[in-house]
Each structure stands twice: as C-alpha cells, then as structure tokens.
Amino acid sequence: MSSREKILNTIRSLTLEPKALPDIPNLRGSGDLVERFTQSIYGNKGEVLSKSEFEKWFLSSGFSKVISLSSQFSKLATLPLPEDPHALDTLEVAILDGQFGVAENGAIWLEDSHLGLRALPFATEHLVIILDPDSLEDTMHQGYEKIAGAHSGFGLFLAGPSKTADIEQSLVIGAQGAKSLRVVWV
C-alpha cells in the first residue's frame, strides 16, 4: 500500500463527528479607506507618496538600474525585464502596478501578469508600487472576494519592505528582500 493510501485509509477508518463549514460573513472595518491604508503601510515600515513626491525622490536619487512595468512610468526604466531572474541581483529600483490594496493592513495584491518575474519585488533593492486609491478594499474578506475567480500561477499580498527583528527583537528594515517600499497614488 502506498503512503497516500495508508494516510487516506487511516483517516477514513476513524469515526469523526461531522462539523459544518461555517459561512464567512461580509465583515467590514470603519473609517476612510485611503487614510487607513496609508496608516497601515507606515505601520509596516513602507511609505505612501503622491506622484509629484515620488518623482522628486526618484530624480534626486540618481538610480542607474531601474526596471519599470508600470505603463505610466515606463520612461523611468533604464533596463528591460531580463529573462533570467538572476540578472536582478544588482537592480536598484523596480516599479510595478499594484492591482488593489487592502485598507486594514496595507496588503497589495500582485499576480504574474503584473510582476513580469516572480523574483522582481523581492530581489530589487527598492520597490515602488503604483496604486489607484479607488482600488482599495476594506478588509481581507473583500480582498479575497475580488480575486475569487482569478487563476494566476502566482499571487502575492505584499504589505511592506523586507524586515526582521530576529536580533534581540530590534526591528531592522531590509533583511533579505527589498530594503524599501513606496506606494505611489495615481
């Protein structure tokens, strides 16, 4: 007997009392979505910028290795999307369009179609996500409602930069992945 059969047969041999699967009510938070989302992103150690604030920061930083998959900011790109993610090792900035954000925790949904390469938002040194404030959802319940029928091979709720507190519980931003996250309203 294979392990698969062994495991399934063992489970089926048990008398397990039936338990109904509960319905999930449409739970919502309260308050202005943009305000709550902004607060959440700052809490997760990211930043939220207006378009002009972003452009000012970008121009003053003098980056030379930039990939942009955002059509509105395609002119900022200095590099095309490579085929091999290993070429992302020295990438300074990645600019992506976020699909929607969640106000209660700052999570932004990204799928393959918006990522180009799955490694992109992790391997880049700085990450910029362009987001439409009208796309914000209230809680994760509405977020999952929105992607119920989506079929991307990979999807990601990203809520901030790479961070760790593994050394004496001191928070450090920029562990293995992106050292910063900037969300830009358009």
Binding site: S2, S3, I7, T10, I11, R12, L14, K19, A20, L21, P22, I24, P25, L27, S40, G43, N44, P85, H86, D89, E104, N105, G106, A107, R118, A119, F122, A123, T139, M140, H141, G143, Y144, E145, I147, A148, H151, S152, G153, F154, G155, L156, F157, L158, A159, G160, S162, K163, T164, D166, I167, E168, Q169, S170, V172, G174, A175, Q176, G177, A178
Partner: protein
C-alpha cells in the same frame, strides 16, 4: 533531561532569563493591542476554529481535492507517512537535480523530521535563510521558539558568532549592521541555489494552491531564483476555500507578533513555465493524533506562537527546556502524542492558568488538554514519590482522627522543622516552592471558638 531540570539550567543566567520573560510579554502585549483594534476579533477566532474543525472532520476528502487541483495546476504531489519517507523524498528530488546546496525557509515540519542532519549526512549543504534560523544553525542549535527562533540569544552573542562566521567587525553589536552582513551572505546563497525548500502555512483544497508567509521575503528569494521549489506540508494545514484565507491571514500575524499581516504572503498555484514545484504531504503522527478524540483539535494549530509568548512557564524556562521541536503549551500537547515517554514531563510544565487557550486564534483548549495528558502520563508511569504521598494522604483523609492528629502535627512541624529537611532534595515538591506560613489553629478549632 526533564523540563524542570532544563528550566533550572536556563534560570542560572537570571538577567537573561528576565530579559526573555519581559521580551515575550512585550510581544504578547502587542498582540493584545492589535487584536483589540478589531471589533470582530472573537468572531474571527470562532470562524477559524469552525473552519478547522470542519477540515479535521473531512480531512481525507479535502486532501484528495487538494491533490487533484494541485496536480491539474502542474504541481507534483508526494505523500510521506513519516519523517524518514519525507526526508528520502526531498533527497531524491535534490539528487535528480544534481543539487549540492539547498536554501530553506522556515519550516517547523522539516525541523520535526530532522531534515537538515539527514541531508548533511548525504553531503548536501542546507542553508536556513530566515535570519533567526541562520543564527541558530551557525550554533548547531534548534530554534527555541517557532516564530522567534533566536529569542534565547543576546546581540553580543550574535555579534561574536557573526565575527567568527561572517567576518564582521569584532564587538560591533548593532542589529542593523549584523542584519546587513547576513543579507549579503544569504543573497549569495539564494543566487547560487538550484533548489529551494519552504514550509507551508495553508494549502487550499478548492484551488490546489498553497500560501507561504514571511516578513523577510526569504522564502520567495529562494524559490523564485531556484529551478525547483519543494514545499513541505503537514496534512493538517489544509483549508477548504480560498476565501478562508481572509479569516486566517487576519488572525495569523496579529496573534504571532502583533502586526496586521506579514509583509509577504505568497500564493503558489502553478510553477513558472519551465520550472517545478513539488509538494510533500506529511503525516508523521498526525493521523494518530486525529484518532485521539481528546487531543484531536490540537491539529488546528496554525503555529503562531501566541501560546508561548503568553505562557508564564515558557517565558521563564526558555524554548530549549521543552526538548521538543514545538515548545511551549502547544508543543506540550502535540509532542506527548509523538513520544509519551520522552515528553512525559511536558504536560506538567504548566500552571493550567489557561492563558494559552485565551490567546489561541483557533480556540484550541490547550490547558484542558495539558490536564488530560497528565492523566495519560500518570496512568502509564505514575511517579513513585508523589504516588506514595498520595496513598498516604488517602489514608489520612479517610479517618477523621488521623486527619485531626496529622493537621496539628503538621502545623507544628512546618514551624519548627529546619529548612534543610523541608527543602530536602528528595522532596521534589519543595523545589522552587515556598511553604506558606502555617495557621495558628485548625478550622475546627477556629469554628469551635467563634461559631459554636
């Protein structure tokens, strides 16, 4: 070594033990604050518990549904009855790929299966990529907490370790500096690895996808650069529907560290074209636990660690004192199911205060199960000294005269006996416990004087 013996060892460094206690309480406090900011918190716990109860009642069906959908999506599904089979399956995939160095993100399951020593025995380098796990790996230690693996270490120790292993400046204890050094070291490993191993937080039957949550982004750095992703998942990690994730992702990070969500929550549904995703569904004692009616619902655990942060015993004895992959209250009800003899002291490592049960996001009745495990332990190996005392007490309580005489004797004895006798090494009940001052008179004497 028993839990009390190990705890005594931990408490020798009293300053560090105090720091450990206070730091974990701080994390517990953050969890309290963030949970109180969600008015429907208790409703979410109720939902999560109900969903998990449904999963455990229909586990075989959900596992088959998960397998069917994952396979349809191009994920290769394996089944492992025990840790040996799990480890062998991982090794076979690595050998097929000709992989000599693998990166691995946090997975309590692979710790449980002792995957690292197994692969190292077969000449494969394993690099744990979560910062805390890399630190304890350098020290040849297991994690002491499932969410905060290096919580038992101070930055001075980590600085010394990194000076030796990563050539950082001697004496530089700045966490930012040390984390940056680890970043450079680990990124080199990510970009070189052909295969990456991760754990699994949730597997979704309806879609055949699985979700991995991290704050560091280390799981994703590994798998998206590698050619092959191996995900190791305990069979109890199944959820029925994608929308159930809404409930669980709202609870997990808030319960674990007091954050509203982990910064990276990756949903793997099918591999990048040309690459491979393998998932190994592991039993290793889980079906046996499912068969134990009283302990079944311990399998609802989502490994948030909240019960450890709140536990007065865990905070004051450290993760290593449990000598079990999952320490703390939840470990003390899971591990006896795996090896009752080895873990017989764990159900007693609790005051039964119930705080673990109060914070558990999936409402496991942890303290009640601790009590139940105590009954199982005493059934199989009642402790001789305590057993004798209980028999003696039984005789005394049966006879009113014996009770009266003993009471009066004891009141005088406790007053006049030297401490060396009361806290004698043979009296394990005197260890780390102080007797209260004996009353001047018995209740009967008091009653006769005041009420008769």
């Amino acid at each position: 070594m028993t839990h009390p013996e190990n705890a005594a060892e931990f408490l020798k460094d009293s300053q560090k033990a105090k720091w450990h206690d206070e730091t974990l309480w701080f994390v517990r406090d953050k969890r309290d604050k963030v949970s109180k900011s969600i008015p429907e918190w208790e409703q979410l716990r109720e939902l999560a518990s109900g969903i998990k109860n449904n999963v455990l009642a229909n586990l075989a069906d959900y596992l088959e549904e998960f397998e069917r959908n994952a396979t349809k999506n191009g994920i290769i599904v394996h089944w492992a009855a025990d840790s040996e089979e799990h480890n062998r399956l991982v090794l076979e995939i690595l050998q097929q790929q000709g992989c000599r160095a693998v990166v691995k993100s946090k997975s309590i399951l692979t710790e449980e299966c002792h995957l690292n020593p197994y692969l190292e025995k077969h000449d494969i380098e394993v690099v744990d990529t979560d910062l805390g796990e890399r630190i304890v790996q350098f020290l040849n230690q297991p994690p002491s907490h499932i969410v905060l693996p290096a919580i038992h270490l101070k930055k001075g120790e980590i600085s010394e370790l990194f000076h030796e292993k990563l050539k950082t400046e001697k004496g530089n204890e700045d966490p930012t500096y040390l984390t940056q050094a680890a970043r450079v070291h680990l990124r080199e490993k990510f970009f070189a690895a052909k295969v990456a191993i991760t754990g699994v937080n949730f597997g979704i039957a309806e879609t055949g996808e699985f979700v991995v949550c991290t704050n560091e982004g280390n799981a994703d750095m590994g798998v998206h650069l590698a050619q092959v992703h191996i995900a190791c998942m305990g069979i109890e990690k199944i959820l029925p529907r994608r929308k159930d994730l809404g409930v669980f992702l709202r609870l997990l990070a808030r319960s674990a560290t007091g954050q509203p969500i982990t910064n990276y929550n990756s949903h793997f549904r099918s591999p990048t074209p040309g690459k491979e995703i393998h998932i190994i569904l592991v039993d290793n004692g889980r079906t046996a636990q499912l068969a134990r009616e009283k302990f079944r619902n311990s399998l609802k655990c989502i490994r948030c660690g909240a019960c450890m942060n709140t536990c007065p015993i865990y905070r004051r004895s450290g993760g290593f004192s449990y000598n079990s992959t999952v320490p703390g209250p939840i470990g003390s009800i899971l591990s006896p199911g795996l090896d009752l003899k080895k873990h017989s002291s764990l159900p007693f490592a609790s005051t039964l205060c119930g705080s673990c049960t109060d914070v558990c996001p999936v409402k496991i009745n942890i303290h009640e199960q601790l009590y139940e495990w105590r009954q199982e332990v005493t059934k199989t190996q009642g402790e001789f000294a305590k057993g004798l005392a209980m028999k003696l007490a039984n005789g005394i309580f049966k006879s009113p005269l014996a009770y009266k005489i003993t009471g009066s004797l004891m009141r005088n004895a406790v007053k006049s006996l030297p401490n060396s006798l009361i806290y004698h090494p043979l009296n394990i009940w005197g260890k780390n416990r102080n007797l209260p001052d004996p009353p001047m008179e018995s209740f009967q004497q008091w009653y006769r004087k005041n009420r008769a």
